[in-house]
């Protein structure tokens, strides 16, 4: 019984899927007799088999819907959407029961009276007019007699409508009453020889079967030509059908085997492939080997075997599509849209494992296209399009991949709304979006939690859709991508590997370790070296490559894998040194151009070997958290290597770039981390990059060189209605004479100054640590910023160049009595930077290095109007210093403003507690000045 039931379940669910699809076809084209016949036959088969197996509940539902179908077939009932919906519903009911059946091996309790009643109403109600009572009763003369135990209403309703419809038919079929009669009717009605419904054959010996057989044979002769069985429906691989019908030769040639067996075979073939590879590798190294010839043959056979076994796992993608017509039909009713689903390339084959995994994402995307993509008919009409929206599914092979395109002729993606959504959900800033192409913006829909549907419908709009689709597709090594034209529609392209078990992988090396990159993600390979046209350039610490007029972001594989300064592989001193100062790398590198979704980037590796067929094996559970690996494999030479997951790399690279930065900073010097600040990097004069704290720069401007005028021996330009001096970085670097000149603008409230520079390179957040002080005027010193030696300029120097009276002037004009400020900071840079800033604002600044020096000034009896003190200082810290000051009456009333790289509220509180009047973040020049003004006005002239 078990086997029988299994067989039944498999076949029935297959049949039902077909019914679903066929019904939709039928609804569109009610005159297509062949389709109807086919549906009828399938439902009939289900019904018949149920009776056979003693599944009354199933049978009664199938029976009632068959009834209606029968009416259709005989033209007694007009095909209506409602009727079809009802039948679809009953198919659903059957599926539900089947699912239960599969789980529990028995029919669930309950009945489907309501559904059956409605079906019967449809059948009866509308049938009355078209009734033809005396039709062909004689056809089944023996039926009644054979019906062994049918107590009531045996004269019911044969679905084929050959019988007169009696009111009695409204009763439910009861468990005991099934069998023979219906069965016979089933056979009677079943047109043609394609008998899917005889899986019961393996249970011979029951009287029913025999009777049915006899009857069946009988009918076959008579009814043979009644309807043409659709040859496509003559599914192969039905042993029992073959037993029945010796004339269907196709069935004889196929065998049903379990999937497990195929999986096992595949695993073994995978192992064989590996071993073959190993052998080949060994023999390749030997000039003369007697193994050569046999190995060659083994090679060939293995390849063929591999292909053969792969083929057994292949299924047409149409299998995954079967449910779609039904879904689209339901959707079109639900949404009130007219939708046509076109399917091209259903015969395209792919591995069944992949097929299973692609089913749900596909369904989801179709739903999406129907719901979001296509507009309401009115809207379509208004846009000059046909009211009937089209969703097209197209599958084809390309290389080792299957491409599935889901296109609709709807409105296309609403780029504006996606932008808004991206901003509101914090996925991107407006500025970032400005830079992006529509294609890139479109790909936001694959981000988690992203749904632009204004309303959450039952169909879609919950924002859990496309990201899941993407995740699922990427899980199987596929990619998904969207292109859209506003008003014309969108095209989703899914690229998936033919099979998961064996993939082709590009073997690369970085730091002496080899890795495999799945070929599917690799677009091209570029060799980059110092002197070739492809050269890796650094934008601060971010490597990029110019590739066909576009910048390609790069990641060093060694960085991704954090392989720096680690492992025995670094043998040459050069590489070691390079690793120390990121930014300078080995001269020759290979860039593996990789695409993940719409994101294209390059993975920099040191060597590239050839492509190998690799068998993907999952990594051990304790390594599974490492997202950059998708598996591992054994190469031909027997060594184990890790398979890189480009998705993982891309994600890590995209999401964690900030984190990465922090890690790097930590590596440099953890205790310096506090002092990170934004620096503007530019070039001027010689090639050395130069830096200035961003907070000091008011604006970046570009000016026309022709607008530079000379006045009083100085370069000036008209800037915002004023004359602005333009200074050069040094005397011996002239201004450009033509084209555009870039400049940094420094400003205080009344005056501005331009500093001419050659090129603005980047804005970098980094630790500023002056490594070398310098005698060069205009420079504070040299620091390593973003991995490169950078000169930090002394802005105060240039301010004085521009306005020799800058400091004096401000003092005179803006501060009545110059306030004296004591500035304490251990960093010479900050002293050099803040002193002019404060000076500019009109304060008289005394700068000291540490608290000890400040206390010495106090002991000398010098007084100040305010003290600006750093918090993090060697020796006496800012907090300690403040308490000491407050505890002593000499400076006890002098307000102290704390400056620190920290801006946490804890620090703030602590600062207050020990007596700081205010607390500002170091590089916020405006805040410092404001704070001083406020502080001093509070303390007033009293001090």
């Amino acid at each position: 019984m078990d086997d029988l039931l299994n067989e039944f379940l498999t076949e029935t669910s297959e049949s039902l899927d077909v019914v679903d699809a066929e019904l939709v076809r039928f609804e569109k084209n009610p005159t297509d007799k062949a389709v109807l016949d086919n549906i009828f036959r399938l439902v009939h088969t289900v019904k018949g088999t149920c009776g056979f197996l003693g599944l009354p509940r199933l049978e009664s539902v199938a029976h009632a819907s068959e009834n209606v179908l029968g009416k259709f077939r005989d033209g007694e009932l007009k095909v209506s959407t409602e009727a079809v919906s009802l039948i679809l519903k009953s198919i659903d009911a059957i599926k539900t029961i089947l699912a239960e059946l599969e789980a529990n091996e028995c029919e669930p309790e309950g009945n489907d009276k309501e559904l059956i009643d409605r079906l019967n109403e449809v059948a009866a109600g509308k049938a009355i007019a078209a009734e033809s009572p005396v039709k062909a009763v004689a056809e089944n003369p023996s039926n009644e007699k054979k019906a062994s135990s049918s107590p009531v209403g045996t004269s019911n309703t044969f679905a084929d409508g050959e019988r007169k419809v009696e009111p009695v038919l409204n009763r439910d079929l009861l468990p005991g009453e099934v069998s023979l009669e219906d069965l016979e009717a089933a056979f009677n009605a079943a047109p043609g020889p394609d008998d899917d419904h005889v899986p019961a054959a393996p249970a011979p010996g029951t009287a029913e079967t025999a009777a049915a057989d006899a009857q069946h044979a009988d009918r076959m002769e008579k009814e043979e030509p009644a309807s043409q069985p659709d040859p496509k429906k003559a599914k192969p691989a039905k042993i029992d059908a073959a037993v029945k019908n010796s004339d269907t030769s196709i069935a004889n040639q196929s065998v049903r085997v379990t999937v497990d067996l195929l999986e096992d075979l595949m695993t073994m073939v995978s192992e064989l492939v590996l071993t073959r590879n190993q052998l080949m590798q060994i023999v390749r190294d030997q000039e003369e080997s007697k193994f050569k010839a046999p190995l060659e043959r083994l090679n060939l056979v293995t390849t063929e075997l591999q292909e053969g076994v792969m083929k057994t796992r292949m299924q047409p993608i149409g299998n995954a599509w079967q449910k779609l017509p039904r879904i689209v039909r339901d959707l079109s009713h639900e949404l009130g849209k007219k939708i046509e689903l076109q399917m091209v390339g259903a015969e395209t084959e792919l591995d069944r494992q992949v097929l299973e995994l692609i089913k749900d994402p596909l369904t989801h995307m179709i739903r999406n296209s129907a719901d979001h993509g296509l507009e309401q008919p009115k809207k379509r009409a208004a846009a000059g399009k046909s009211e009937l929206g089209t969703i097209k599914l197209n599958a084809y092979h390309q290389g080792g991949h299957v491409i599935i395109q889901i296109s609709d002729d709807g409105a296309g993606l609403n780029i504006e709304r996606i932008k808004q959504k991206a901003i509101s959900s914090g996925l991107a800033t407006e500025a970032e979006l400005e830079e992006m192409s529509d294609l890139q913006i479109g790909n936001f829909i694959f981000k988690a939690g992203f749904s632009t549907a204004e309303q959450v419908t039952s169909v879609s709009g919950r924002g859990v859709g496309m990201d899941v689709v993407r995740t699922n597709i990427e899980k199987i090594g596929g990619t998904v991508d969207v292109r859209s034209t506003t008003g014309k529609g969108s095209v989703f392209t899914v690229k998936i590997p033919l099979t998961l078990a064996i993939v082709s992988g590009l073997i690369v090396e970085s730091y002496g370790e080899r890795f495999a990159i799945p070929q599917i993600s690799v677009i091209e390979l570029v060799r980059a070296s110092e002197n070739s046209e492809h050269k890796i350039e650094m934008l601060r610490s971010s490597p990029v490559l110019r590739l066909r007029e576009q910048l390609l972001p790069l990641v060093y594989l060694s960085d991704v894998l954090r392989m720096k300064r680690k492992g025995p592989a670094i043998s040459d001193v050069d590489a070691l040194q390079n690793a120390e100062t990121s930014g300078h790398r080995p001269k020759d590198d290979f860039v593996v151009v990789t695409q993940v979704g719409g994101f294209r980037f390059g993975i920099v590796v040191e060597r590239v070997f050839d492509t190998e067929e690799i068998v993907v094996k999952p990594v051990a559970p304790i390594l599974r958290h490492i997202s950059v690996f998708s598996g591992n494999t054994i190469l031909g030479d027997g060594s184990v290597i890790m398979i890189l997951d480009p998705n993982g790399i891309a994600n890590m690279y995209n999401n964690n770039s900030v984190e990465e930065e922090e890690v790097k900073a930590e590596a440099v010097s953890p205790d310096e981390q506090d002092k990170k600040m934004s620096m503007l990097i530019f070039r001027a004069g010689d090639g050395t990059p130069k830096a200035v704290p961003l907070s000091l720069v008011a604006r970046l401007e570009e000016l026309d060189c022709a607008s530079v005028e000379r006045s009083n021996g100085r370069d000036v330009i008209q800037y915002r209605g004023q004359l602005m001096p333009l200074v050069r970085i040094s005397e011996n670097c002239p201004l450009r004479t033509e084209g555009r000149q870039q400049m940094l603008v420094f400003a205080d409230e009344t005056r501005t100054m331009g500093l001419a520079v050659d090129e603005i390179v980047d804005i970098v957040e980094d630790v500023l640590k002056i490594e070398l002080t310098t005698e060069t005027t205009g420079m504070v010193g040299t620091a390593v910023i973003g991995g490169a030696a950078t000169e930090v300029i002394d802005v105060s120097h240039y301010l004085v160049v521009a306005f020799p009276d800058w400091f004096e002037e401000s003092r005179k004009t803006r501060v009545k009595a110059a306030r004296r400020i004591l500035l304490i900071d251990d960093s010479p840079f900050f002293r050099n930077m803040l002193a002019p800033v404060l000076g500019t604002a009109g304060y008289k600044v005394t700068a000291v290095e540490n608290a000890e020096q400040a206390l010495a000034l106090r002991d000398e009896g010098i007084t100040f109007d305010a003290i600006v003190s750093d918090i993090e200082m060697p020796g006496i810290s800012g907090f300690e210093f403040a308490s000491m000051i407050k505890a002593d009456e000499r400076w006890g009333d002098t307000p102290i403003v704390a400056i620190s790289a920290h801006g946490t509220s804890d620090d703030f509180e602590r600062g207050r507690a020990v007596g700081f009047s205010d607390y500002v973040v170091k590089m916020d020049r405006g805040a410092l000045l404001r704070s001083l003004t406020e502080t001093l006005s509070v303390y007033g002239e009293a001090v």
């Binding site: 954090r562 051990a620 390594l623 494999t633 184990v640």
Partner: protein, 164 residues
């Protein structure tokens, strides 16, 4: 991962030790350890160990054992011993946990000892915590003490460390 909590506390001692059991003895950092002989699938000299970047430090790499990929766990690292010098030969003891093969890298593998439960006792209270985490108890051998390793703990705690 809280497998640790789900695991019955095995430190109860002799309860789990049959009257006479066989252990594969091995040396890690001068200390003698034992693993029930039935747990050991294989002992071999690993040839090529592929480093796995970004793996936990205890994971020495992955290696190929007759077509199977085995994750190697360096017991020295795992149990908090000094790392061994470069180039020193190690031995790999292959075990299985939840159907997944792992190899424990040890300094040396000794003979199989058939030990009597009477010489077994639970962990002394002052046992180093890294050992206590994985130790089932101690066998008093004539001249040495042997720590019985609970293999599941070796792997599980590693898992836990990752999740944390």
């Amino acid at each position: 991962m809280t497998e640790k909590g789900m695991q019955p506390d095995n430190s109860a001692g002799a309860v789990n030790i049959a009257a006479k059991s066989d252990y594969v003895s091995m040396v890690v950092g001068g200390q003698l350890f034992g693993v029930p002989v039935l747990e050991v699938r294989d002992v071999f000299v690993p040839s090529k160990l592929a480093h796995v970047p970004m793996a936990p430090p205890e994971v020495a790499g992955v290696l190929n054992l007759r077509g199977r990929i085995v994750t190697a766990i360096d017991l020295r690292q795992r149990l908090g011993f000094e790392p061994r010098d470069e180039g020193v030969q190690v031995m790999a003891v292959v075990i299985e946990y939840l159907g997944e093969p792992y190899s424990l890298l040890v300094d040396a593998v000794g003979e199989v000892l058939s030990l009597d439960a009477t010489s077994f006792e639970r962990n002394p209270s002052n046992l180093d915590s890294r050992l206590r985490d994985v130790s089932e108890g101690i066998f008093r051998l004539e001249d040495k003490l042997m720590v019985v390793i609970q293999l599941d703990k070796v792997i599980q705690l590693l898992n836990g460390a990752i999740a944390a």
